[in-house]
Symmetry: D2
Subunit: 351 residues, 4 copies
């Protein structure tokens, strides 16, 4: 059994990690860390999880390393930066869900994460990426940094164009729509139910940092493949799941059939990415409600002949494939388990 | 592997059965039945379930019996009444989720299910009940009838009072609140999103037939234990999950501490019933969002000293513990598996 | 023009008072009071109200009295208790929306409002009640106290039974379902959108103080008419509007037809109370979505022959008929205007 | 009093017209038309509207013209095309809310409205446009065609750029997010509450006809001002209100300050368009919840320095400013009333 610890156990991603790890056949939860809620049991923090784990929240210290083989950091970027240093070389794997080690280009990191000072000693040792897109790198990686929820969806949506078809994307306009769980449980007036329900809240109409993260990754993997990539993000009136719409303009000729084939081929070996046709079921897809609770990312690609653009839609559960599920998937790769171990749950729909 | 078939595979309970059976380690799905949508694959009917099962919807016939060990009837009561006759004595187990065989008292059955003519040849052979409350009966039962979603919640809420504490309940007033998935996917104007969202719809202020079902069961198990039991039911503005509030007036003296102990004791051996204190977590419980997607029924009991009544709240996911999950639980009992096999998933919350 | 001031202008009821008063043909808003948000304009506090009133939030002082003919106190009970003393005898009308002066029986007041010390000098001078049920008393009242949102709905639902038909109600069980706006905009984790959406939150399963308020009023108006009255309250997954279900057991014989007639007759002259049949429209009524934004209270009465009980359902918009609208209605009566002045807006539905 | 008739009185826009006209000081409702629901009273069709109008739904005929001064056509485009011919020259004003007469360029009309054959005899007599953008044309127009809900929002968002600042917009990418009321009350499985709640439904990822409508209008008013304009539309999990996001790329230099000033100046005289700063209130705006039930369109413009694009957000209530409210506004202009007559209601928020 792989001994797993979570820091940030009281947050939403932390709760989701508890859910997934306690369902995992080859992992056992041995540590719950956090700086607040110390002494609390999971059920007190996560209303659904009334489990008898015999664990309560504790501060993470150097001694914690002896109790875990892998530690998941579900902490804010500045905290992750410090904890990574604490656990690096002391545990077999550190898996960071924050933005502390995502952006490789130093100036870009400093610009978008000014509060999480770049750890130059560690930054280059981290393997970053959507597990589907980094090949075997995670198998040997003691330090793993995972993309943000939007970055995961957008990158999975665009990679078949740049890395599969080899297209150069002149202009990419991303419009992101997500539920309220994306904002966590911080006390903000705008996130109270009366003001958030029924909203279409333009919370980041310009300047979302996941845009920089995506471009940084794609450009590193195929220099020159992305001209401009801009993003606007909106909170809509549900809780879990996001849809990223990427509107792509390219100078190269490509048609619907070619696109569809390329996407199917690109993800043939990757069971968590489901390439779907827009009208293949009762409701138009992809729709985040159709992946709820699961580790799937649904992707649809369409050529808009009218305006000569490519429309790529990608939907995922921000707490699973966008956070905790992807983290477990990365851990599976790190420890040589089949990628889907403990992650085979189907979506809960309708919900 | 237990070969399982589903009739009514295109409905919501049918979809949930597909989800659970394909995740079950000891069952395999070998038949999808239905009279409409013949020829369709699961993904076309259930947007979340893009599975490669090699099955499409077929009409159920006598020959179907050879392909299954257990058949789940997720069909309307009149259809179940016919199919039960078709499959009885031809398969090892028939598990009916409808109301066709729930009410034992013949006059009551005829009154509440006038369209599902009582099959006198079969009715008495059916074991009916919440699996937690029928002991070992299901192990030997070839024919099993499961309670309605509300009946499950209310019965689990009241049983510790009558069967545990032996109280006589003079008057029970039940107020039920459920999401829209309780009504299925029939095309009714009142169920369109614009009219159903934001609603508190008093769809059955008087005359809900689950009240008769509950009383029939409790009275059979402890005659004289329930004086009057009335029920009113409301649709509220979410999709999945229900809360049943039972307001109980009894002439016998009982206090909070005694009640709490009795409930904990009564369900000590039953992992799917979680006896919870009202304030044990971040949100007041029980709340159906805290059991979403799982087979749990959360129960809270309180003594209202002010008005000398007992307040029992029970919450469950109407499609899982109130339908498909409970059906798999019954099948597990029937086939000698541990009750929780394939049903260990934790709630997906928040969603 | 009647000069109107609001204290508590930054809260939800305060915002609704601004909305209604600025639409009122015979009132003008001359004062916005509050202890927090001093200096803010309405648009900064109420996202929908981008008005050019030339007013910002100020502390209420004795001098405020000179600028207003009527002051609406949309403040917590302890604050209202103090402000009432400040404004009494200095303005033509003080209209309190809080619980400070609702319960007449001193012991009951102290029990349910321990933090709002009873002002014995003022308490008896307040006229309390739903405007429809106090006849002409408000015309001469300088001090008016209005019922809570639930109390308004329940009292309007029960009054035709006790005051109209003269029934004695042995046992009344009230089950209340309301949206999240009932809890205001205080920062509580349980009220954040991710935890509140999809909830059926049993926030007051026992001990809701509106039950005491209703019983106190009905008993004062017809002693002996209410035996026991208990209440349980739930937050459901929408924002605005509540439904109160009153389950009534009486020893006197009465049937559906008699009940329906009695209700229609009782409210014949009261345009804000709409007596509705359960199935008179596309959706079952009463449903709070069908009164949204309006000053209507919809009431339906049904006799449940099965269990020999009376089911009374009453729905209203908790911020309008349950707060700001009712306050304007009371002010209209106080100043001799037709009751409906400025309150003729129809419900906004669907929303 | 202006005598007003509505055809399509049973639909959502029809219901909203009833709400607004019965609140209008200078209009009276004299005719309710429709081909279905004949004989029904408004309360039977619109659960919120329990009015005593003495009207029931009737078929529209030539004789209807004698009973009305203005007829509002809230009918599908093919029906409007026929009814326009019936009422033209027989009533003082025909106001069409459908797409029958929106697109001027004949080929474009035929392409996007193949079922509503172009009435060449009438098409050129119709004045089409957002009332704010057509100057005095509606004062003399017997035939008025109003933009679709999305077209209204997008056009109001872009007009200050092309008509105000005189910019040429190289590429415009529109992403539209709307509630379920936009789809009306037709019985479609995908619109049932269980499948629609919690959805982000990409119902028109390519090929939304409002894009053609907007471009046709802007190009007619300033030829060459719009290069390409593409649109994708999504249904999100609320009922009423839409947000249109227009991402604009232009070759001309412009900065935030200039943009803000231009928008304020452009709409200075138009009270229904509120130019708002993104952070001016408790929640980020524009957000359709902040205009609910009102005739406002909120517009925000931002320059994204990062990607050198202009982000324009416009929000409105699709049933008011996007349909019935705008129609009344047009009628006001037609009959020489102040534009805002009967339309001064403030938003109902939170709801």
């Amino acid at each position: 059994m792989i001994r797993a610890g979570i820091v940030g156990a009281s947050g939403l991603a932390g709760g989701e990690l508890i859910r997934l790890i306690t369902q995992h056949p080859d992992m056992e939860l041995t540590f719950l860390g956090g700086s607040s809620h110390v002494g609390r049991r999971p059920a007190e923090l996560h209303p659904g999880l009334r489990l008898d784990l015999g664990l309560t929240v504790e501060p993470a210290t150097e001694a914690t390393a002896d109790r875990v083989d892998v530690v998941f950091l579900a902490t804010p970027a500045p905290v992750s930066a410090e904890l990574a240093a604490l656990f690096a070389d002391r545990t077999a794997a550190v898996i960071d869900l924050s933005g502390a080690f995502r952006i490789r280009t130093p100036e870009l990191h400093d610009r978008w994460y000014p509060k999480a000072k770049r750890r130059t000693d560690l930054a280059d040792r981290f393997v970053y990426g959507v597990p589907e897109l980094v090949g075997d790198q995670m198998a040997d990686a003691a330090l793993i940094s995972l993309p943000g929820c939007y970055a995961t969806a957008i990158t999975l949506g665009l990679a078949p164009l740049t890395l599969g078809l080899g297209l150069d994307l002149r202009t990419v306009v991303v419009d992101g729509k997500s539920g309220s769980s994306g904002g966590g449980l911080q006390l903000r007036t705008a996130d109270l139910h009366p003001l958030r329900n029924g909203a279409i809240a333009p919370y980041a109409p310009v300047g979302h940092r996941h845009a920089a993260e995506v471009r940084d990754f794609l450009e590193r993997n195929k220099p020159g493949s992305v001209g401009s990539l801009s993003m606007s993000a909106y909170g809509v009136s549900h809780v879990r799941g996001l849809l990223a719409s990427s509107y792509v303009f390219t100078d190269e000729a490509v048609d619907q059939r070619e696109l569809q084939r390329a996407y199917v081929r690109f993800y043939k070996e990757h069971r968590f990415v489901r390439v779907r046709r827009h009208a293949e079921t009762l409701i138009p897809v992809p729709d985040p409600q159709a992946v709820l609770g699961s580790n799937f990312c649904d992707v649809t690609v369409m050529h808009d002949d009218e305006s000569d653009r490519i429309v790529v839609l990608s939907a995922l559960d921000n707490l699973v494939k966008g956070a905790a599920g992807q983290a477990v998937q990365a851990a599976n790769k790190r420890f040589g388990l089949p990628e889907e171990t403990g992650l085979t749950m189907q979506p809960v729909m309708p919900a």
